[in-house]
């Protein structure tokens, strides 16, 4: 838990992202904070969740003891299937992704650059075991990519940068970033603050960002 004046907690971040998902969207949620979004479907909307290991119409986690080892999500956690769900194999699943059939994918990030470059699979360290999963396919194929992430690393280093230093997942793919501190759009001019978390001011967020932030268009 974080105190109110240092930004949103993980659940609040997930809830904030959910507010921006249009009714009827087909959505893929990455591992970590993105997984939490499924809990926060706003009143009156219906989203259909896709998990790349072969399920459309993914429902919430099963009740304790009701899960099945062969009904899991991409994070390998047990899930459920809603009425109207469909199972399919991996080639069909990634046809949905690569073919542009999904409306939105929400991913975590290690770094995001001002032009929308995303790094979220490897720190590039000599001892790191490289593991990419479906991230490169998702960012290359899904119509819109949101990132939800802590604004800074645990060590306090900024994650939003002029340019990523870690190996890229995709080039210029991110359209919007949700952090504990702000909602930020990737624009041709750079990263533009759309919304500050309650109790925070622009300077506070800029200080924790490794690239120049633009103020919200309506405030200029």
């Amino acid at each position: 838990m974080t105190s109110a004046n240092t930004g949103l907690d993980r659940e609040q971040m997930a809830q904030r992202v959910a507010l921006d998902i249009p009714d009827g969207s087909y959505v893929n949620l990455g591992i970590g904070i993105p997984e939490l979004i499924a809990k926060y479907v706003p009143e009156g909307r219906e989203f259909i969740y896709h998990t790349e290991n072969g399920l459309l119409g993914m429902g919430p986690s099963p009740e304790e003891g009701q899960g099945e080892p062969e009904l899991i999500n991409a994070g390998k956690r047990q899930v459920t299937a809603l009425p109207g769900a469909a199972y399919f194999h991996h080639a069909d699943s990634f046809s949905m992704i690569r073919g542009g059939h999904l409306d939105l994918c929400v991913l975590g990030a290690l770094q995001v650059a001002k032009n929308g470059d995303l790094a979220n699979w490897s720190t590039g360290g000599p001892d790191a075991i490289p593991a990419v999963g479906g991230a490169m396919d998702l960012v290359a194929g899904v119509k819109q990519i949101f990132v939800v992430t802590q604004h800074c690393t645990k060590k306090g280093e900024p994650k939003l940068l002029d340019a990523c230093t870690f190996p890229l997942t995709g080039v210029g793919v991110v359209s919007r970033i949700y952090t504990d501190l702000a909602v930020i759009d990737v624009t041709p001019e750079g990263l533009r603050v759309v919304e500050l978390s309650p109790g925070l001011d622009f300077a506070y967020v800029q200080e924790r960002t490794g690239t120049e932030l633009l103020p919200a268009a309506t405030k200029s």
Binding site: G24, Y26, I48, G57, L82, G84, Y87, F94
Partner: protein
């Protein structure tokens, strides 16, 4: 609530525009969306590029659409039929274009279009006139030809059953090209004999997941093309 059903055939085909590329499901009469095609004739869109394995039979369904002069170009593998001269007559008088594609290449091009694959290599047609002008490439000492993914503005399909999400199941060999065209059509429009509640199709049995479908219209007793031809029906 997501509900992809529309009330009428006219609603289903309403937005198809002049010059559109339209994939039409079916192999021969199996899976041919006769009622949707007739609605498209009524609707009036012209200068269409149509993708189907064949060119229809008699003067109903796809053959009727061609006969009405609405089709500028056909992309297909087998534009002949034992009981129709509609396409051959127009083709011989240069009133319709033809892009002839081997059947397996046609299927794979449609799948590729739907799967976000812009190009792939196939051994089919190498050394034949259908490879003329196409790029050849050798993999492990064998030649292949480069083929391109195929997409369409619309896909018109016939299935057996749908739910409100657009999940589909088909009937026997009427499945053929339809699951591929569902993927490759920007707007996929499906006539089904039955609409069931969400969950009415077992998730293990879904052939086309609803994400590939935009509109569903119920046609409870679809006509069989061969029966219409035997009955001497012509459309309109």
């Amino acid at each position: 609530m997501i509900d992809k059903t529309v009330p009428s055939l006219a609603d289903a085909v309403q937005e198809i525009h002049d010059g559109a590329t339209v994939m039409v499901g079916g192999f021969g009469e199996a899976g041919s969306p006769v009622e949707l095609i007739h609605a498209l004739i009524d609707q009036g869109a012209s200068y269409l590029t149509v993708i189907n394995n064949n060119t229809g039979s008699g003067e109903v369904g796809l053959a009727a659409l061609i006969n009405a002069g609405r089709v500028k170009k056909m992309i297909c593998s087998y534009p002949r039929s034992q009981n129709s001269t509609v396409f051959p007559d127009l083709y011989r008088s240069n009133k319709i274009e033809l892009e002839l594609v081997p059947q397996g290449t046609l299927a794979e091009r449609i799948r590729a279009g739907g799967a976000g694959i812009p190009g792939f290599y196939t051994p089919a047609s190498v050394g034949t006139p259908l490879a003329d002008g196409k790029e050849l490439r050798s993999f492990e000492g064998k030649d292949y030809v480069l083929e391109h993914g195929l997409r369409a503005d619309f896909a018109l399909l016939k299935a057996k059953c749908a739910d409100r999400y657009g999940n589909l199941i088909y009937n026997k060999t009427a499945r053929n090209f339809s699951p591929l065209m569902a993927m490759a059509g920007s707007t996929t429009i499906v006539q089904v004999a039955e609409i069931v509640h969400a969950g009415g199709i077992d998730p293990e049995h879904v052939i086309t997941p609803g994400i590939f479908v935009q509109k569903v219209v119920r046609v409870p007793n679809p006509a069989h093309e061969s029966q219409l031809v035997r009955d001497g029906v012509t459309y309109p």
